[in-house]
Subunit: 133 residues, 2 copies
Amino acid sequence: MRRGELAERSGCHIETVRFYEKRGLLPTPPRTVGGHRDYAPEHLRRLTFIRRARELGFTLREVRGLLDLVDGGDWTCAEVRKMTLEHLASVRRKIAALQKLGAILDDMAAECDGGAVPECPIIDALMERTPAG
Amino acid sequence: MRRGELAERSGCHIETVRFYEKRGLLPTPPRTVGGHRDYAPEHLRRLTFIRRARELGFTLREVRGLLDLVDGGDWTCAEVRKMTLEHLASVRRKIAALQKLGAILDDMAAECDGGAVPECPIIDALMERTPAG
DNA sequence: CGTAGGACCTGTAGCAGATACAGGTTCAAG
DNA sequence: CTTGAACCTGTATCTGCTACAGGTCCTACG
């Protein structure tokens, strides 16, 4: 399988494949006589893993951690679960932060009457007050 | 006021001050005889504005947009409110995406019994199934 | 068999949004 | 007059890609 097909089947951008290879997440495949990369199904499996983990918001560092566990061979379900829960916690922190932020924006927009004059509580808030702490 | 003091009083990192100057968000201040930047209170006001807007998740492009409105002088409250509401919408989209993601992670972690064996529904999900679509 | 044009190859630059560092100058206190 | 903190400059680094330029290979069509 060549790079284009691998990219398409995994759902990754073609350049991303090369990027992951450079980062050591995807092993360097053998080459054809002409120098083209020649991927095996195992590469597709691994790249799909990476893409899905990325979609779930794992950083590349975290993905690498998961892959290292799997590659090591002596990993346990508990370890994977731990990483997942840590990531879940960070997702929830992000949600909380965004919700707080949304509430502030909502308040600011509500205070603003949308008038045509160059006086605005939003600008005032950013210039003068302390909205987020 | 020098760069260090400006940074401290605005709550920005000292290097960030120079970064914003380079990006044209903060005007170049006059210099002392020795070549040090010499900031006025107006710079502090502006930098504080930038920092607060950034804390509220506005991108630098959006911050620039807000500053352009203010700098232009002919902005209206309605324009600022529009930008705020657009940003609020994007914040809410992010929250929704993260919540969906959190639910998936939660499910995955729940399926996982945390055992000491190298068999894990999470890894399986990433390798084989289609969790997020 | 020749050629057209796609798919690939390489290295490098760019995006956001900072942060960090090296190697040199200036300033202020003692 | 010395010390050392704070400043100056340019450039490199980080994450996670994406996009290009300029060249090579592969395959299908005639």
